[in-house]
Symmetry: C2
Subunit: 322 residues, 2 copies
């Protein structure tokens, strides 16, 4: 099957969105942006074996490739307008493509966004390039540089699930035996099928200050906000929200207790807001700390002692430090 | 050097475009689209060894990756608004990155477009994903489905140069000895540094009907227009515009005389227009045929006989056919 037939078969679907004036099939797609809205754009590349395990189900790869990009729109409080897909494929395997397209389109439909264009090429290395376009109101875009001293720091959902899910897939022999099958499945699903927090982001755009999606881990992503905003923060490691499955795993293997600070791929939103607006947060979210004027990030453990970053994660100090 | 340092060093440049509200460095870039304009978007993937020879100079790869995408905007008569770059790299080689970024940014500056976002990842296979955003006036977008019977078919520039340039690079031993060095250099430059015909496309958007950029070869790309418009065409192979270098090569090796019909990568514009508007074409372009209501594509040789497509190209018939 040649490139054009491939595209038609798996990726050219009817799009009911009136904002899409022309979808897949010409040199460019044509879209209409409401006159009072700002355009947002973000591109992510996913490489097999690096961004997802090689043997990940094609449905899940399709879901995740779109989800991680929509998550960038969610992090700025925008709504999706359209998406393009570049697919570099070792071979045109019909089963693989059908599964991938199903996962991609299922999430697209759930989020009300159409695939409007793209490119399919042959390559020894499976690589997926997704670009999302979004729209948002001027003055209501959540940026990384808008955190203010005194802001609360909060996160949606739970952290560390995807990181544990990855361990479950890559080193199944190291999963504690006490962990029930359904909890393992939950963690792997969190890795493979992240939910872009679009509704939460759009809600937050009304009153929150800064936001980012947690793709590289809480500490790294929070540091992006601190650097961009020229502020510091203190967070309480004991307040990091954990799922029941993550809590059970970390109880069975305490050496992993700082994993939720550094593990990526959860695609939850990390946001800052004036404490006066906390009662407007009408979805599951947890306050984990606060922004302060003094630069630097201090993370406190259960005893109130600061943790320090070492090779591969955070260590608890034996005692209090200056 | 980590991903963030890489991005800053080579890809984060000042952007003077007032339409770019926020460039590289947040979850998404923010752009302003004029209220009366339509948004265009196109994504292309380039894979090393497939879309360009492995040992192509990094400057040229940077140029070409952007050029082929801007060419999609040119083909619809739009102006560029912003561009994102996804780069999957075997290793972070400073010389390679500096050259690539130089080629990319030089063309971006020439075309008045800023790099507004992207992603850099490690991968065994060098892969480049570029997404261009553009803007155009409603009713003045050149689409593939707008060709009308009676239209002239014309092309900008000359055809076959890039195809011959690729032969010069891949099989230098088969280049006719009579070909001077500067003509060879010209052909290779046409392969490696195509010029997106943005000014021509924007001019054509005022009066032309259908257009496409010639990336896959004249016959294949014209066929896209014919299929989308539900029409046929007749073209005169002897009217296909050739550069002096291409003409010399084809004279020295007549077995290649139909190459300009099928060779891709020239990124010239193929367009159709009412003959009454031909005098408005104020840039180098050549009429090569006309659109007719009857489906199918007829290509006539110097004797007026139809050519037929065979494995690997077109053949001249020995005599006239029905």
């Amino acid at each position: 099957m040649n490139e054009f037939a491939l595209i038609r078969r798996y990726f050219q679907r009817d799009c009911a969105d009136p904002a899409v004036l022309l979808g897949v099939g010409d040199d460019c797609a044509l879209l209409k942006l409401p006159a009072d809205e700002i355009l947002l754009v973000s591109t992510d590349l996913l490489v097999a074996g690096r961004h997802f395990p090689m043997d990940t189900a094609p449905f899940d790869i399709g879901h995740k490739a779109l989800a991680v990009n929509l998550s960038d729109l969610a992090a700025m409080g925008a709504r999706p307008l359209g998406v393009t897909l570049g697919l570099a494929l070792p071979k045109a395997d019909a089963d693989w493509l059908a599964g991938f397209a199903e996962g991609f389109h299922a999430l697209a439909a759930e989020c009300g966004v159409c695939l409007v264009g793209g490119d399919t090429v042959a390559s020894p290395q499976l690589t997926i390039a997704v670009t999302v376009l979004g729209a948002g109101q001027a003055g209501r875009i959540l940026r990384r540089d808008a955190a203010k001293p005194g802001d609360l720091i909060a996160v949606t959902g739970t952290l560390g699930d995807a990181g544990l899910g990855l361990r479950a897939v890559m080193t199944p022999e190291r999963v504690p035996a006490v962990l029930p099958r359904d909890e393992l499945d939950f963690l792997v699903a969190r890795l493979n099928r992240p939910s872009p927090r679009l509704a939460e982001g759009q809600r937050l755009s009304v009153f929150a200050h800064a936001a980012i999606d947690i793709s590289d881990g809480l500490v790294q992503d929070l540091t992006h906000i601190l650097d961009a905003s020229g502020v510091g923060a203190e967070i309480d490691a004991t307040r990091i929200p954990l799922s029941a499955a993550a809590r059970n795993w970390l109880q069975a293997d305490p050496t992993l207790d700082t994993l939720p600070l550094t593990a990526g791929d959860d695609y939850e939103l990390l946001f800052t807001l004036d404490p006066a607006h906390w009662d407007q947060v009408d979805f599951p979210a947890t306050v984990i700390g606060s922004i302060r004027a003094e630069p630097g990030l201090v993370i406190r453990d259960a005893a109130g002692n600061p943790l320090t970053l070492s090779q591969g994660g955070f260590d608890h100090f034996a005692g209090p430090t200056a």
